[in-house]
Amino acid sequence: MTSPSLKLIVEAALIAAGGPLTLDQILALFPEDERPDRAEVTGAVRELQLDYADRGIEIAEVAGGFRVQVRSMVAPWVARLWDEKAPRYSRALLETLSLIAYRQPITRGEIEEIRGVAVSTNIVKTLTEREWVRVVGHRDVPGRPALYATTRKFLDYFGLRSLNDLPPLAEIRDPEVLLDDQLALETPVEDRFPAIGHQRPAAND
């Protein structure tokens, strides 16, 4: 078998690298005695750039070297590959959010005390990045814990004019109201929270 052409190797390496490759990195793919000139490698890259003129990918020159990337023209379609991956929020996140909404301003420690488990940094990060929650101050106690509150965006997202539009706690605590009213959910509530299923009045079945 003859050795594949320099261009094929450069192409495969650039596409497989998953990031920019410098000229030196490309040269390092060859054993010393077979190593091409720098000019040959740049030549191969230029040829590939021409080849890609009517393709879905292109070779961009960045500070770190050469990088194969999706052509901007098709990027909006390709970007949807990752759209699908946004997973549903965990129950822990929703519980944390609801506690911030109802008990703001509240510290992480207070949330943990009510939930009985630690609140992961990721949850706080996600809620902050989504701009539903932000730090409005610090409680002036040792450790100066951050106080979290909900934002305007939070209200907008859920179509609320103010927090007063949220159902009062008493209603939420009463399973009957919750089940009969706002929460005519597809899944029966007890399936999601088997631990508290017993609280549901038998009459509801």
Binding site: V68, V70, S72, R115, G137, H138, R139, A149, F158, F193
Partner: protein, 279 residues
């Protein structure tokens, strides 16, 4: 004497093991092999079936017609050797030794004339197991030979130019939020020490708003917190929110002298010295 017979059968060109590159052609009856070499040898086998298969193949014998006595003796010699060297021999090797001995003794029985008795060759079960194991030993080799990721195949992944990736966050229904809250409350009630009080949400909201208003400022005049346009209820809520925040160490109320204007500020903006005092 059984050992002698068996070792005669061992004088074949094929080495029974290759230890660090050097073939071992004869069984070491005088224990001239260093123990760690035998450990290597033992490691080379995946178990008693693998060792048996090796012994059979080494002599170009057909699995279907194993000279059971010979193979048994060879097998026993290995096992004995391992035991003498106090190598950590897996129990499976001993179980197999017992099985071989049993087959061997049954083979020595005169064959009964009536064919239906006992159902055939005592080696049958062993042969079945050897064949079955051999198939999967081969299958494992075939699998290993398949071109695979990391070794033979390298998937590609080109980047996306910046600005196109927008991770759409998941949708949340208000009902999901309420169900979650109800879950926490129900759990919190199980621990009687925790109590989530029934509390006016407008008060909570106002607390956040007051904090927001005071953020980044030093002293703010207390009265500036109130918006008379909100009417009586609004003023009361703001007043309660301020008290609540003061109580929970978020706000600080300062009055320099009696009847002077009251000022309010977030305690977090205090000087370092204050922090120490609080701590």
């Amino acid at each position: 004497m059984a050992l002698e017979t068996a070792s005669a059968g061992l004088q074949q060109e094929m080495p029974f093991a290759v230890v660090q590159g050097a073939p071992l052609l004869t069984l070491p009856q005088d224990l001239y092999i260093p123990p760690d070499a035998l450990e290597v040898f033992l490691d080379a086998f995946e178990g008693p079936l693998d060792l048996l298969l090796y012994l059979i193949k080494r002599q170009n014998l057909d699995i279907l017609d194993i000279p059971i006595a010979e193979i048994t003796d060879q097998y026993m010699e290995y096992v004995e050797l391992m035991r003498e060297l106090r190598l950590d021999l897996a129990a499976e090797y001993l179980v197999m030794a017992a099985m071989l001995a049993e087959i061997k003794s049954r083979m020595l029985l005169p064959r009964v004339e009536s064919e239906d008795d006992e159902g055939g060759d005592p080696r049958a079960e062993l042969i079945r197991r050897l064949q079955e194991y051999e198939r999967f030993k081969q299958a494992a080799e075939d699998l290993d030979a398949l071109p695979r990721l990391e070794r033979d195949h390298f998937p590609v992944h080109a980047g996306i130019p910046p600005g196109f990736l927008q991770r759409t966050p998941p949708d949340v229904d208000l009902r999901e939020l309420l169900v979650a809250l109800r879950g926490v409350l129900a759990r919190a009630q199980l621990f009687t020490s925790h109590r989530v009080e029934k509390e006016s949400l407008s008060l909570r909201e106002r607390m956040s708003q007051v904090m927001e208003r005071l953020r980044g400022r030093s002293f703010t005049e207390f009265t500036a917190l109130f918006d008379v346009a909100e009417g009586r209820a609004g003023v009361v809520v703001t007043f309660l929110a301020t008290l609540e925040l003061t109580k929970s160490s978020v706000l600080e109320l300062v009055q320099n002298e009696p009847f002077a204007p009251i000022h309010v500020r977030l305690r977090e903006s205090n000087q370092e010295s204050d922090d120490i005092a609080v701590a």
